[in-house]
Symmetry: C2
Subunit: 359 residues, 2 copies
């Protein structure tokens, strides 16, 4: 089945071939080398400083978000957090659970971040800033330069969730001076889910050193100490980590992060142009789009019904929304091993549904 | 390469075939059905009561151990814990980190649990008991009935790590009145690593209801609420969960847990007999063996050197030990997709090393 969701996404043949292999034993120099190579390539693609570090946690992206919060923030911080959808809401929940003092910048759904959203918080003693570079639930791509400049002016430690935008939209961790960058194996890395990836700038490493983590499993001090020699404190998702290795080398061979971002951007553009061309009854609901996904409001039918119909009668997955967006929004992803002709099939299905007056 | 470690282990053809497939989208009724089927089969194989529940966490077995501690114990508990090796030590670390009052029963390596080890703790107000049914690091299979009877007499809530013994040695969760049973995808379930499985008796469910978990990612209240409908709060390791499904059905088809345990027991016996037959310079160091593994002390060569030699020159993995057992102990596992002829190859390699006077 063609998969147009935002994760898990489609994998390349090379990644699937690794999935078909026996998973090797991992307390070996061979696996250590692979992990150190993964670290180098992730750093390169994230444009991190040379003295940044990468850890690979066996958990979901949400586990990675919590690890970032638990290991780098304390009750002495005063955090700002952008909440523009389900994932911003998750940061809010995590800050609440871990008793980090914070102020929430509640964003209207679909709306871009503008200087006036941040202006009230200048010179107010904030020490940390958390946000989604791309709020996956609503498909809004926030202006990272705006946040980065705010953080530089206000000496804020920046935690940026790039889970669905890493390798889909441009990002320069060093230039933006991000402290932590989070992504997951099942987004543009296009591997099976199971691994969260955190890139940690020296500012993060300093904070981790001083913070007592309340959870052993997600303790980044332990993860870092083991990654020194390309290992992990607990048995990791060895299979997925090997798939990540193949995938990173595939991206490198094809021109690196820039080429992959360009490829994804072209796919997004192709799909969006086709939508217009065929005058489909869907409105794009984000005023600041990521290359990773097109969020759509169908004007003539329930979004969830369209998701079910496309799955059950056309054998494809588009990405449903949950909660109170269940009937009003679905999304079409552009990350993963997809090509233009795959979108032709999806567009054909939409045209067919329009012909049958289902939409 | 043949893999005789205790995880990741070898997978069957059917499990590998799933690894070669694209990972499907999972917020669907199809995936929910699969997860509910996984729950039923795990309950059946664990011999849990009907009103027990199962959760699947995307993490290592150690993450599962921590989830059990964090979600079912509080500062009002008084716990007993058996520490007979690395995994007992992990329980001790977790109880310390989470500030659960506890007493440690330190066991000599390789020694079986006997009534006199528990006698001093009778009628002392203990409320919980944590132990490894099989301490994987030293290959000692503790007498679960001894612990279970103690727990019944003393009204102790029992948390049992069965990570490497589930489906390798007999266990009856209901009969032993265990509160929590923990296992992992990469042990006798013979799937890639990435998923911890917890079986929760009603006594555990009651405790979880009343306990505030300090980690959202490992919060069992959220896991249980989602598993009601066959889902997870965060994107799980969908691929591994599908492999677990295939594997559980494979076991069911071949005669269920009993047949799988018998098969593993026969493999262990086959290997141990061959060791004797060829008079290899290895001593079995456990006085209470599990079917899952044979822990060996080589009397003529460093254990780690033998591990490296077998890996680099014979293309097989045996299981090295870490820490201060690095040079004195290696282990040979019997879980996973192995057959007698595989052990013949390993024995041949040992015989060859003996001929070459390496051992």
């Amino acid at each position: 089945m063609l998969n147009f969701t935002v994760g898990p996404v489609m994998s390349s043949e090379a990644v699937l071939a690794i999935g078909a292999e026996q998973v090797p034993y991992f307390r070996t120099s061979e696996f250590s080398e692979l992990m150190l190579e993964n670290e180098q390539l992730i750093k390169k693609f994230a444009h991190s400083t040379n003295d940044s570090r990468v850890v690979f946690l066996t958990c979901s992206g949400s586990g990675g978000m919590e690890a970032a919060v638990m290991n780098t923030l304390t009750k002495d911080d005063k955090a700002l957090v952008i909440n523009g959808g389900s994932f911003g809401e998750r940061f809010v929940e995590l800050l609440t659970l871990h008793e980090i003092p914070f102020t929430e910048i509640k964003m209207e759904r679909g709306k871009a971040l503008k200087p006036e959203h941040l202006a009230p918080y200048e010179d107010n003693g904030y020490t940390a800033f958390l946000f989604q570079k791309h709020e996956t639930s609503t498909g809004v791509h926030y202006d990272v330069k705006l946040v980065s400049d705010f953080c530089k002016r206000n000496s804020c430690f920046m935690i940026v969730d790039t889970i669905s935008t890493f390798l889909a939209d441009p990002f320069d961790m060093a230039e933006q001076d991000a402290g932590v960058m989070i992504t997951g194996s099942q987004k543009a890395l296009s591997c099976p889910p199971g691994v969260a990836v955190l890139v940690l700038a020296p500012s993060a490493l300093k904070r981790i050193e001083k913070t007592k983590c309340c959870c052993q499993y997600l303790d980044l001090k332990l993860a870092l100490k083991n990654q020194d020699r390309g290992q992990t404190p607990w048995t990791p998702a060895v299979g997925v980590l090997r798939q990540i290795n193949v995938r990173l080398k595939e991206i490198e061979k094809n021109g690196g992060a820039t080429a992959e971002i360009e490829r994804t951007g072209k796919l997004a553009e192709y799909f969006r142009n086709k939508l217009k061309e065929h005058d489909l009854p869907f409105e794009i609901i984000s005023e600041s789009l990521s290359n990773a996904v097109t969020p759509l409001h169908p004007t003539t039918q329930s979004a969830h019904q369209i998701f079910l119909k496309i799955k059950d009668e056309y054998g494809m997955w588009i990405c449903p929304n949950g909660g109170d967006m269940k009937d009003t929004v679905f999304r079409v992803g552009h990350i993963g091993y997809l090509k233009e002709s795959d979108y032709d099939k999806l567009i054909d299905a939409f045209i067919d549904l329009k012909k049958k007056k289902f939409i």
